[in-house]
Amino acid sequence: MYIEAKKLMKQYGSRTIVKDVDVTIEPEEILAIIGPNGSGKSTMLDMLIGLRKPDSGTIQYWDQSFKGKIGVQLQSVPFFPGLSALENLILFASFYKKKLSKKEAFHCLTICGIAEVAGTEAGKLSGGQQKRLAIAVALIHDPELIFLDEPTAALDPRIRLDIHQLILDLHKQQKTIVFTSHDMDEVFQLATRVLLIAEGKLIAEGQPKQLCEEYGVASLTELYIMLTNKEESLHA
């Protein structure tokens, strides 16, 4: 087990964003965290990667020095202003004590499909290119566990397919991937396990196909609408 979180709770002001959520991340799985906007997905992800402290609950990691072994692509695409895509990649690699040659950095950009903009200032790249650079930064130190927060949001279908293939390739290399998404077809195609979160609570968990069978629905989209509607009406 990579991460075991128990009874996670996070509040901002009087509003509870995450309520008593238990999460485990197993090796070599592709775990999708899904849920409506504002359901607490990103806050939960932030707590799992150590960006925010939970108000209560515990998180156990497989390794004390896990920071150097996880790769993270955040929803925002943070890069050092004034530096090119290649320079940003080399700089972020140095934060993981990895000396990356220009050739190696260029190779990583090639894998992510943005080698042609290696010399362009990172801030001037298009949205899709920035997203792929953020994924390249997340992979630069060859992490065991990879977190991708909405990796395909607002991207065109071709780039989406490229990123799907990249996720599957990483999985073949025995990497563990945790991602969030609003695209249920993407989740059904990629995820080996799904966590459905609504109003800060975990409302369903399991393999996509198994979940559809269990609830007697034809697709993950149907299940998502059914369960999130139910949760919303309970809180209305």
Partner: protein, 250 residues
Amino acid sequence: MHSVLFRAMLVTSLRDKITLFYSLLLPVVLMFGLGMYFNEPAQQLRIVCGITAVSTLFWGMQGIAFQIHWQRSKGVYKLLMLTPMPLITFIIVMIMARTVIGVAINSVIWLVGMISFRLEFTVLVAVLTFLIIILGTLCFTGIGFVLANMARNEAHINMLSNLQQMPMIFMSSAFYSLSGAPQWVSVVGKAFPFEHYVQLLTNVHLTKSTVSMITLIVLILYIAISVFVSSVTFRWDTNSNQALLKSQRA
């Protein structure tokens, strides 16, 4: 590995053309303009030292404040927090990189002024001036770091830096003597590090290469305090919990 970070910070600082304009080009033009108007060596020496000091102040304070604000608003520090890189290493390397460029810029301004106005100086004076510029740049860069941690946006940085820089400059002897000014002006001026920096720069010429220990201690104290405060007040993120709550509700 820190050399990669140091080089990257040097590159980003050198590509910051707006700050370079205000810290190098504008001071040189101003120095020549004033130096030609006041044609006396004593006045010209005051102008060279005053302009060098003002340039150090702008480069140190506003330069780093804007650079940190841009990096923070892009979310770079959030990602940095997830790496094994210690925060204090990042702060120190960043201050050092900006100090290297700041010292180079201000040494050039001082040297250009001294040579252009044919002002005499010894090698010892040049070496002492160089060391004083290092201290001054470190001091104002440290204060700039604190400013960046206090400010919420670019307009706030401008407001806070003007609030600090204007009294520092006007209550100092950078361009005129304070001997005729009310006593409170000189007392308040001495509470700021800028007046001590100006005095160190000018006195090293006038008092034949001697340096006042008190002014030196004041500058070193400011450096220590500002580096400490900047590491304590450092923020990873521009978002407060309130902003996050607002976005969750939206």
